[in-house]
């Protein structure tokens, strides 16, 4: 059953539309990631949810209750801010107690619940520490504890990992995910990092220019992107112009810079010019033989089990291809073909608007 619903939310600032008829449904206990580049309206959406902004149009509903115009003070949505916004003049315990005091909790009950919230984020006994004496990761956990202590209806996270060292991010991401699962709170988080969105979100909503491009599980988005933008934005990919020649019984025939490829497992695409979005693992490198797309390796990046090669085709497109680490060197001429198990790694998007 839908717990939190955004119904056709629209927010304009002067002449720009920050959020444009955005509708989303979030289940109880679900984690939804809002993913998009800067200016996509994801932060405004979060602020509309928190109540810092009031939409020009549309509604926010929690369990059927319309909270669109409810003041943030009364909304009972917890929020973790990008820079945490911990109160620097209060200690850890006082920060965590702040929201509970708003609810009238006091005395032993208050102490007990502060301690419980701190235990939850693995900071038991940190009550009397000063905020300025904490590491970045600890500050973030205090911010989480502070937001969770009053048992809010919804938890909002604004770029929760952007303020941490890269080395800390993965671990913190895991901890956050575990913690939120344990608490079972309905969560909306905003991020511009796809890894973060995929790792934390049960579902991911991709936004662009204030509009919802696609919402679905990470697997859905990766394997069946709704459009070119999602295909490019989600996961590693490169794009090249092709001409769709038509459908055969073995798939779709396309012409790529004069070379004809047969693509299997590709959604139907009308004949005519199209953009082909390709994952690096959907292509393979070979000798420059006829039938292969010819290009020059311009860059090789070692990523562990495989290397990522950038190949500049004769037609001027830059394609990323994975291959065995030492197979070719920069400057060499190579051929490219779709790999046999390209699977859902190649997507065609017709240029002609249907």
């Amino acid at each position: 059953m839908t717990f939190l619903r955004l119904d056709s939310l629209t927010k304009r600032f002067d002449s720009t539309v920050a959020v444009d008829h955005l509708s989303l449904s979030i289940e109880r206990g679900e984690m939804l990631a809002l993913l998009g580049p800067s200016g996509s309206g994801k932060t405004t959406t979060l602020r509309l949810l928190a109540g810092f902004e009031v939409p020009d149009q549309g509604q926010v509903l929690v369990e059927g209750e319309n909270v669109t115009r409810v003041d943030p003070v009364a909304r009972r949505f917890g929020m973790v801010f990008q820079h945490y916004a911990l109160f620097p003049h209060l200690d850890v315990g006082e920060n965590v107690a702040f929201g509970l005091e708003s609810l009238g909790v006091s005395g032993e009950e208050l102490e007990r619940r502060v301690a419980r919230a701190l235990t939850l984020v693995d900071l038991a006994g940190f009550e009397r520490r000063r905020i300025s004496h904490l590491s970045g990761g600890q500050q973030q956990r205090v911010a989480l504890a502070r937001a969770l202590a009053p048992e809010p209806r919804v938890l909002l996270l604004d770029e929760p990992l952007s303020n941490l060292d890269p080395s800390l991010r993965e671990r913190t991401r895991r901890e956050i995910r575990e913690l939120i699962r344990r608490v079972g709170i309905t969560t909306v988080l905003v991020t511009h990092e796809q890894d973060e969105a995929f790792d934390l979100g049960d579902r991911v909503a991709v936004l662009r220019g204030g509009r919802l491009e696609q919402v679905g599980t990470p697997e859905d988005l990766y394997a069946a992107p709704a459009n070119e933008f999602v295909a490019e934005f989600v996961g590693r990919s490169s794009t090249i112009g092709v001409l769709v020649l038509g459908r055969t019984d073995r798939g779709v025939r396309v012409a790529v810079e004069g070379v004809e490829w047969n693509l299997t497992d590709t959604a139907d695409s009308p004949p005519g010019p199209a953009r082909m979005v390709v994952r690096p693992e959907a292509l393979r490198l070979m000798d420059p033989t006829p039938g292969a797309l010819i290009g020059t390796v311009t860059e090789r990046r070692f990523t562990g089990a495989a290397s990522l090669f950038t190949v500049l085709t004769e037609g001027g497109a830059a394609l990323e291809v994975t291959g065995p680490p030492r197979s070719v060197m920069a400057g060499e001429q190579v051929g490219i073909m779709p790999s046999r198990r390209a699977g859902g790694g190649i997507h065609l998007f017709s240029r002609t608007v249907p």
């Binding site: 109540g51 003070v73 009364a74 917890g78 801010f81 702040f98 909002l156």
Partner: protein, 552 residues
């Protein structure tokens, strides 16, 4: 939306309050200067232009102010470089002593100079004895005397601004200059000074405006030499109110012109901006003779700078009528201080100054907080004008404001927003309040700007309403700015002389006027004792302000 409209309405209300307190009296002055018995007239302007004394007074104000800027810069900038860039024995304590003239309110500084260099001052008498002269070696009178006091009290602006500017320099910029082959002088000329321009411009502006508005020194030492502030007061005492209005307008125009010419410079932003990078380390002076020279110069300077304070302290122990021609007073007593407490007539002004300063400070801080919330936080549409009005009294000399308030609030016309406050308890706190608004609101608005708005939002998501957020989050975090703004306001009001002399009544006479009247009765001991009290209170308030401002 309704809450938004209420906020906008509050903004308009604040705007109206400020307009009524600040702009309205000035407009009334302007109107009175152009109105005769038969309606609008330029007679008084003509009178003003025809009298050579007027032009001379205005020119006197301008050139004294320019000369004060030059002198203050010549003293303050080298000192700032010395203490900001070099390390030598005693640097810390000397660097602190150098800022001491700041705790001498104008009138107190002036009487200290009188006791030191005046006709029967210590230094004068000492020289007279040593050189076996018939009379004092100089007369502490006229432009020279005024400039001496100005240079002494105003180099502090250049000193503090330059030091703040030097401290905010990024070492890597200097290192970059060195790596590009720039020598010490080229770095100084092409990198350091250009980076200091805003700070130096700010100091120059502050010095110019302060000396343009300076009243105590010209009043006591001017003699036949008139500047516009003293001219206004004497015209007013002669009963030529309309001419005084035109003089007021002329002085305001000069002030506004200076402000306009130096509009790009940074004023009082010290400490508000964060520092990027690392401040340059001080150069340790290694050579023995150089350390020695610097030490001697430094301590000599400290003694010179402290002489007025010490003099005041010494004179405050002189019993009435015992000190005549001796270089040092022959007798000492606690009597003068006891009098201040025991004699109700003497204790009155002390008490008056305390409550007047307290009331005006509380009001100024309150208005500044309201302005911070409405202008910085809620960003009301009228925020530009609100902040402009808050800064305006700074551009208008105190004498002018005193005249303006005396004009506006000497008539009962409630519908025109005018009430009779002149002669009541309330005119002085009001005048202090208006004069202190710029300095208080500067500090407090800067504090608001430095606050992360998401702290407010965090408090809101945690269920804290407006009042709880203000009480628990905003105000505690603003404490350094509040203390800084309040202490500046309190000290200025506590030692005020310019506005007080035009607006006081017997019941509300503040310390400064009691100092003046003690001096007239040749009761130098009591005058000095008052001076010491003002000095001590100012120093204590500044010390508390510095302490609180750095902590929390």
């Amino acid at each position: 939306m309704r809450p938004r409209r209420r906020v906008e309405l509050l903004g308009v209300a604040l705007l109206a309050l400020l307009a009524w307190l600040i702009v309205y009296p000035l407009i009334l002055v302007l109107v009175e200067g152009f109105r005769g018995p038969e309606g609008w007239t330029l007679d008084f302007v003509r009178l003003f232009l025809q009298q050579p004394t007027e032009a001379r007074a205005l020119w006197g104000s301008v050139w004294i102010s320019l000369a004060s800027v030059v002198l203050a810069a010549a003293i303050g900038i080298p000192l700032a470089f010395l203490f900001g860039r070099y390390d030598f024995p005693g640097r810390r304590i000397l660097g602190w002593l150098v800022a001491l003239p700041a705790v001498l309110p104008p009138l107190v500084g002036v009487i200290a100079f009188l006791f030191l260099y005046g006709e029967s001052g210590f230094i004068s008498l000492l020289l007279q004895r040593l050189l076996r002269l018939e009379a004092a070696p100089w007369a502490l009178q006229g432009a020279g005397a005024i400039l001496l006091v100005h240079a002494y009290s105003m180099y502090v602006y250049f000193y503090l601004f330059t030091r703040a500017g030097l401290a905010s320099l990024d070492t890597s910029v200097l290192e970059a200059a060195a790596s590009l082959g720039a020598g010490r002088w080229r770095t100084l000329r092409r990198v350091v000074f250009p980076l200091l321009y805003p700070a130096l411009g700010g100091a120059a502006l502050l010095t110019f405006m302060t000396s343009l508005a300076s009243f105590s020194a010209p009043y006591i030492f001017g003699g036949g030499f008139r500047v516009m502030t003293t001219q206004i007061v004497s015209t007013r005492l002669n009963g030529d109110d309309e001419l005084a209005m035109i003089e007021t307008v002329s002085l305001t125009l000069v002030a506004l012109a200076a402000l306009w010419m130096l509009r790009g410079s940074r004023f009082l932003d010290i400490g508000a901006g964060g520092r990027k990078g690392l401040a340059p380390a001080r150069v340790r002076v290694q050579r023995h003779w150089a350390r020695l020279t610097l030490g001697v110069i430094g301590w000599g300077l400290a003694v010179l700078l402290l002489l007025p304070h010490l003099t005041l302290l010494l004179v405050s122990f002189v019993p009435l009528g015992t000190w005549t021609t001796e270089p040092l007073p022959p007798a000492y007593t606690w009597r003068n201080y006891l009098t201040l407490v025991e004699d109700p007539v003497r204790a009155g002004p002390l008490f008056n100054s305390l409550w007047l300063a307290t009331v005006s400070t509380v009001a100024a801080v309150g208005i500044a907080i309201a302005a911070g919330i409405l202008s910085v936080r809620r960003r009301v549409r009228s925020r530009g004008i609100i902040e402009g009005l808050l800064g305006l009294p700074w551009a208008v000399p105190g004498t002018v404001f005193a005249i303006a308030l005396a004009t506006a609030f000497s008539v009962r016309a409630p519908l025109a927003g005018r009430f009779v406050l002149v002669g009541t308890l309330w005119i002085l706190p009001l005048a202090y309040l208006v004069r202190n608004l710029p300095i208080t609101s500067r500090a407090i608005l800067a504090g608001f700007r430095a606050l992360d708005p998401s702290l407010d939002e965090a408090a809101a998501t945690l269920g804290a309403g407006r009042w709880r957020t203000l009480r628990r989050v905003t105000l505690p975090l603003l404490r350094p700015a509040l203390v800084a703004g309040a202490s500046l306001a309190f000290v200025t009001a506590f030692g005020d002389f310019v506005t007080s002399i035009m607006l006081y009544t017997y019941d509300t006479r503040p310390i400064s006027l009691e100092i003046l009247s003690s001096l007239r009765q040749s009761d130098v001991g009591v005058a000095a004792a008052y001076g010491v009290v003002v000095m001590a209170v100012s120093a204590a308030v500044f010390a508390v302000g510095a302490d609180q401002g750095s902590g929390g």
